[in-house]
Subunit: 298 residues, 2 copies
């Protein structure tokens, strides 16, 4: 019994971040199958990248055939599988011919990694987000404005005429986790839950430039007033997101993401008078890899 | 052999913070002896406060006599030996009759704890610093202006006519430690050392309101430019201190502290055009306890 050719992948896409590995069995622009593991770049030693990848994609390979594999993300960092040197902005988020080939032992695969982007002044870097952006621009080639990608590190990316012209990374998510879990504030902050009113109050204070000076009040107000742990959590989130958004030029704005965090950014932007569109980012890495793959074949 | 009465303490002062316990054998305003241990309030369980104190002061006690003991600091917190409820500002930093008595088993001691201060809007609290401020004001009763007390949490305290009229706690030192040791920036930050030029650049950016957005550049500039770990450490410190100082009304200003951190604040204030005086804080807690003790006896 053999599968029909239309059910056989002709390339494999790989989204390999710090904490997660996802693979896509692709035929042209069509995704036939997807698998994932927790073998993120952060926990994989130098010699273990190829086995970690093969563990997921082996069912899609055939002896005597070479499968093109296209990866993006932290796998291309200096501490990753093989360094894919950054491309300097301004530039298109991905560009044909720029992927870096990785030597492999298994003859059935030909692996290439897409480079990240860097900016000189002020210094900044990204790895992985450029591919999401390419996926977004494949659907919306005429978009000009700012793309926000919330997460541990939130990127604000300026797009003009299909190019990334500049970007800024904000450590908002990481700061939130450190303050909520490791600082003296942890005694006053709930492990989850939200409170829209407290969040909005935090955003207002953060937008006004007062976030740093307002942090300790989250502890003090729990001691001498009646701030609840849930309200404290929401206000901390608002303070940090407000501080982040106070610093950027934002007019036309799309948030790539989903769930609570994307909605929190949307609400905070509304307080700044910016109507931001939400765009679910779940498939954008795959679509960005596809855009590169199809562009490279032309 | 008996000691001369002038060598015998007639009260004992106690500076009991989160991480350290210091005791002073006092005769009036004169300090005869001092001892310390690492039995800070943070590591002492409820039943262990009295033994931890006696371990240090036992040589100064005599059977059949009751020694007054006056303590300040986190020992008076809810999680301390006994809660000494906050006094509300505006008020003098310490006020006669306000110390809270602690029941003890040993009949040779009579222990009282000075209350900390609280502010309602915005909420803030202090425990221990009020006694340092009382020590400072005992020497400089006519001082009007801002007292800065750098540390893990830096307090900015507004003084008018001998009263604390308001204060703000900035988590600058704690934020610095979290970012330098626990965040992604740790890969780019030296464990010690400084760089005055990088510090000044950070202060300038922090004063201008750009600290949050400039944090990740400390990582990126190490990856794609030539930022050294020592310069990154100094710039992070400058960014956070600059952000802190951008938020306060500061004109007449005294920094209570010593060493590198006090000088860093002095340099940062100079960049804001504020000439701040340095005042070594080493003896101020003892002098504040003395001011209370002598005032209470009147």
């Amino acid at each position: 019994m053999s599968e029909s050719p239309s059910q056989t992948p002709d390339w494999i896409g790989v989204d390999w971040g710090t904490s997660r590995l996802r693979v896509f069995a692709m035929r042209g622009a069509r995704c036939l199958d997807t698998r994932q593991s927790d073998q993120g770049m952060g926990k994989v030693a130098a010699e273990a990248f190829e086995p970690a990848l093969l563990e997921l994609i082996a069912p899609w390979l055939q002896a005597g055939q070479v499968m093109p594999v296209l990866a993006c993300g932290m796998v291309g960092a200096r501490q990753g599988w093989r360094e894919a040197p950054y491309r300097a902005v301004p530039c298109a988020p991905v560009a044909a011919g720029k992927a870096v080939q990785v030597p492999t032992r298994d003859p059935r695969i030909c692996v290439r990694i897409l480079p990240g982007l860097r900016q000189s002044a002020p210094s900044d870097v990204m790895r992985g987000e450029e591919t999401q952006i390419a996926g977004f621009l494949a659907q919306r080639p005429a978009f000009n404005g700012t793309i926000l990608l919330p997460g541990t590190h939130c990127k604000h990316v300026q797009i003009e005429a299909g190019q990334v012209i500049g970007f800024t990374t904000h450590m908002t998510g990481e700061l939130f986790a450190l303050l909520a879990e490791k600082s003296v504030l942890r005694h006053s902050i709930a492990p989850h839950g939200t409170d829209p009113e407290a969040f909005a109050a935090g955003v207002a204070q953060g937008l006004a430039g007062g976030a740093f000076a307002a942090l300790f009040a989250l502890r003090a107000e729990a001691l001498v007033a009646d701030l609840t742990p849930t309200a404290a959590r929401a206000r901390l989130s608002g303070l940090l997101i407000g501080a982040e958004l106070s610093q950027s030029e934002l007019q036309t704005c799309v948030i790539i993401g989903s769930g609570d965090i994307a909605q929190a950014y949307q609400a905070a932007l509304a307080q700044r008078g910016v109507v931001a569109e939400l765009c679910d980012g779940a498939d954008l890495v795959r679509e960005g890899l596809t855009a590169y793959r199809l562009g490279d074949q032309k």
